[in-house]
């Protein structure tokens, strides 16, 4: 009874076939059902996330946060949802009605799509396609699309600016992200997430900490969360792409953002923190779900921590950071990892041994040290440049003697 999901699935299948449906149709129905359940589950968690978000930010800012409705204000998000639902739903004049309404749906749907490939447990996962990693990237790209549609369709220059920024940011941050995703793929010899999880007898985080870090950074940028939230920088472009959205449409964006964060955390834990791995997860698959969400929430917390600790970056700095720093670093990382892996493990899918872990880790440390040194040099130069002499306006001293003489 350690695997309720599959048990229920099997029972339903037998039931339906007993009712005289064709196996093919049954499969279709069950798949649809699974999708439905999955979506609902995630969305419910999403509602919870609102509460988490508000609570945690309150703690970070030394406040109490929602605490009136229900124990610890647990009912608060429900109230929020109701509020959003009863708000007036406006489509501004001159806006592109269809696109305008499609955008928020895209925004949330793409996030939901990601959950299709994340393995919850050895036996519980949506689809074990052998290109899951690419799939995640692809869906992330679709998310970008939603934001552009929103920004463009709402016929508002701030929204458009936000969309532009989003495009620039996402396109440039996808590059190091995709590159760095190769590291776990190389280590696991597969692009399937289940296979990646299976091969994480030691978490990849310990084999490739830098890769994990870069992935975290880039995915935060993909999220468009602080410090990378210039696409909705209140101080510059009011609210960015969702400035014109009201009521539940805005709610969808909001939920999408929160859920996206959790999704990214889940992906991160799957790729680098061993996914559902944990004690007895193999015997009792349902435990795997617990472990996965435990790790995911930890990462989610880290993301929030970053969000509420860092100031916003300037856009040129941000793009420069991606193109001039992350991309080269990730390239170096991938090449080094591949070479080391080829030398140590050959082409076959040999299991990961302890010395191998140590060597990969050492390689990462070396690269990190080199990076730090280079950065220090760069910073020194920059400081020199910035601290250089600046032209100062000077006024000619009036000749007081003459003034006195004129008296």
């Amino acid at each position: 009874m350690g695997d309720p999901v599959n048990a229920i699935a099997a029972w339903l299948r037998n039931l339906l076939i007993g009712l005289g449906l064709s196996p093919g149709l049954t499969t279709v129905l069950l798949t649809a059902l699974g999708v439905l359940v999955m979506a609902t589950f995630v969305t419910v968690i999403d509602i919870l996330l609102v509460w988490v978000e508000r609570k945690v930010v309150a703690r970070f800012q030394d406040r109490l946060g929602p605490n009136r409705l229900g124990p610890f204000g647990l009912i608060q998000p429900i109230a929020d949802v109701i509020k959003l639902l009863i708000k007036e739903d406006i489509t501004p004049r001159g806006a592109d009605w269809f696109v305008f309404n499609l955008a928020p749906i895209m925004a949330l749907a793409t996030v939901l799509l990601m959950w299709a490939v994340i393995p919850f447990a050895p036996t519980i996962l949506g689809a074990d396609i052998n290109v899951a990693v690419l799939y995640i990237v692809a869906v992330g790209a679709l998310g970008t699309l939603g934001i552009i549609m929103a920004g463009w369709s709402s016929n508002n220059k701030y929204a458009l600016l936000g969309a532009f920024r989003t495009v620039a940011q996402m396109v440039s941050y996808e590059v190091p992200m995709v590159i760095v995703l190769l590291v776990p793929v190389i280590l696991a010899r597969s692009m399937g997430l289940q296979a990646i999880v299976d091969s994480q007898s030691t978490w990849f985080f310990f084999l490739a900490p830098i890769a994990a870090l870069i992935f975290l950074i880039t995915s935060i940028a993909e999220l468009g969360r602080a410090p990378f939230d210039i696409n909705e920088a209140e101080s510059e472009i009011v609210a960015g792409f969702h400035i014109e959205y009201t009521g539940m449409k805005f709610g969808l964006f909001y939920a999408g953002e929160l859920l996206h964060a959790l999704t990214v955390s889940a992906v991160f834990s799957t790729l680098f923190l061993g996914g559902w791995r944990g004690p007895f997860a193999d015997q009792v698959p349902i435990l795997g779900v617990v472990y996965l969400f435990g790790k995911a929430f930890f990462i989610y917390w880290v993301i929030m921590w970053i969000k509420y600790s860092f100031p916003r970056l300037r856009i040129d700095h941000m793009l420069g950071f991606s193109w001039k720093f992350l991309t080269p670093l990730s390239l170096v990382l991938v090449i080094a990892t591949a070479v080391l892996d080829k030398i140590l493990r050959g082409t076959g899918n040999a299991p990961i041994a302890f010395p191998y872990v140590l060597l990969q880790l050492g390689m990462n440390l070396v690269i990190a040290a080199a990076t730090v040194i280079i950065l220090r040099e760069y910073a020194r130069i920059e400081r020199k440049r910035v601290a250089g002499v600046r032209p100062v306006a000077t006024a000619i001293e009036p000749d007081f003697k003459e003034l006195v003489a004129q008296e």
């Binding site: 592109d96 992330g140 995709v178």
Partner: protein, 170 residues
């Protein structure tokens, strides 16, 4: 009329309709969005052709990069978007004739080919095409040369794009 055929036909209809909208829509951003739908349909086609890798790559490259770039370009060149006046040049009917001609010619020629009705052969399940393709792409006996050429082409395109679109600071 099996399920798979149904799926194919639906996808084909949607895709072609979207494609027609791409060339017909006067609002370029709509055209771009229709294009995305078309590309998505093609991705589904790839899925039907049991090439999931290419389906995903289609989404990543075409939808994730190309079409978004296009939307970007459209927005950057918005003022010249000519929302007023025809979106088609004077020779549009010639174009229509030609495309019809090409379609008929292609279909006719293909139908005269004996392999036109090739049934679907069984795939050997155990082969992981992604891994095999990857191995082939870097295999000196395989496609490493075209692979390298393609990468050089991409590099050249990258640099060229930067150079061409560089805004000269006066």
């Amino acid at each position: 009329m099996s399920v798979i055929q149904l799926i194919f036909l639906i996808t084909a209809v949607i895709t072609l309709g979207a494609a027609i909208m791409v060339v017909a829509a006067r609002n370029l951003v709509h055209a771009a969005l229709w294009l995305i739908l078309t590309l998505f349909g093609v991705a589904v086609m790839f899925g039907l052709l049991s090439a999931p890798f290419f389906a995903v790559v289609q989404v990543v490259i075409y939808i994730g990069a190309i079409s978004i770039l296009m939307i970007f370009a459209i927005m950057l060149t918005r003022r010249g978007l000519l929302d007023s006046g025809s979106q088609f040049n004077k020779g549009w009917w010639v174009a229509g004739l030609l495309s019809l001609l090409s379609f008929t010619a292609l279909v006719w020629m293909l139908s005269t080919w004996e392999g036109f009705h090739t049934p679907l052969p069984e795939l050997s399940r155990d082969t992981d095409f992604v891994a095999a393709l990857g191995a082939q792409l870097v295999n000196p006996g395989g496609y490493v040369l075209p692979f390298e050429v393609a990468s050089i082409l991409l590099l050249a395109a990258l640099i060229g794009a930067v150079v061409v679109a560089w805004e000269k600071k006066a």
